[in-house]
Amino acid sequence: MASSNYQLVIIGGGPAGLAAGLYAARARLNVILLEKGIPGGQVLVTDWIDNYPGFPEGIAGFELIERMTEQVKRFGLEIQNVEVLHLDLSKPVKTILLEGGDTITCQALIIATGARPNQLGVPGETDLTGKGISYCATCDAPFFRDQEITVVGGGDTAIQEAIYLTKFARLVTVIHRRDALRATRVIQEKAFANDRIKFLWNSEVTRIFGKGGVEGVEVRDTQGKLSIIPVQGVFIFIGIKPNNSFVPKEEIETDHWGFIVTDSEMQTKTIGVMAAGDIRSKKIRQVVTAVGEGAIATLSAEEYLNRL
């Protein structure tokens, strides 16, 4: 199996990883970025971004990523499409095991693998994903034109996407575990004023069913009463979880949910290993914060490399 060495390895090609890569390539570090899918991460499935400075008209998530990728390529950043399986951080030279068995060694490492949507974990969910169950309204909404669907969740994403889905669906039922929404007040007001949105409070989805496609959901209320709602689509927005399957918990400190703990310089408990973007344990997760953290992580890595 082949092995190669770099000064710096960046894992993850979303905004944090691409910003880290931009700074590293411009610093002329011997660097590679590893991405298991297509660069972009969660931004790729974000329809429109209005809060990224420099784009007064807003920009499509896909286009923002395309521009970021073009920019790092201009400075010669090497990007490899491969999944990381395991990290060995026990020695100063870190070893990264890749799918297929190859390894990469490096002096400094930036983990920027981000997060992915939480699943409900109910029967039917895995089988019907892509067949009526979706975690991305902008990807799949037009398939539900004039149909009845549900949105599961009560946060900003859930309510914003419920409003977006009413452009297509005839009726959107928001199913929420509590009796009030967590979403920002302006978003709530918009949703309450929309007559295509109905709310089902104090209720949890217990099962999603259908043959070849979603036909309905089973819901349990806080009193334990079960009911069936016939719908053709289920959109699930119940938070995110970190992409951390390859992170050794003994060597990298994580919080209760598995997000990586760093100091303000993006340095983890293991010297020479930084983390940036949504994978970090923090409160605010925005594209604009992710790119800032990516830049800081590379500058910290550079400082570390200079001390070696």
Binding site: E35, K36, G37, I38, F62, N81, G130, C139, G213, G233
Partner: protein, 109 residues
């Protein structure tokens, strides 16, 4: 959006082009409004060139061709379905990388 090795198929010619195709055939179901579909398109084009003569690569615009996506229960894009001898071998939903697509194609070779 199709590269020179990727064939645009429609509801009308899906049967002769895909179901009755001699080669294993990968169909990329996409739409112009879908960002992840645009992201995956260059990867499909690259693979079409690399697998020319061994695997047939097709694209279908789901906005213009509702019947076929309906028949295969597609309600998310990009969806890539691999066919061999008229039967579905396997499928992937979402914008995955080149290595995952190579693994998918490998199931029909």
């Amino acid at each position: 959006m199709a590269g020179e090795n990727v064939l645009q198929v429609t509801d009308a010619d899906f049967d002769p082009q895909v179901i009755k195709a001699d080669l294993p055939t990968l169909v990329d179901f996409w739409a112009p409004w879908c960002g992840p579909c645009k992201a995956i398109a260059p990867v499909v084009n690259e693979l079409a060139a690399e697998y020319a003569g061994r695997v047939k690569m097709c694209k279908m615009n789901v906005d213009e061709n509702p019947a076929t996506p309906g028949k295969y229960g597609i309600r998310a894009i990009p969806t890539l379905i691999l066919f061999k001898g008229g039967k579905v071998v396997d499928q992937i939903v979402g914008a995955v990388g080149k290595t995952q697509l190579i693994a998918l194609i490998g199931k029909a070779l």
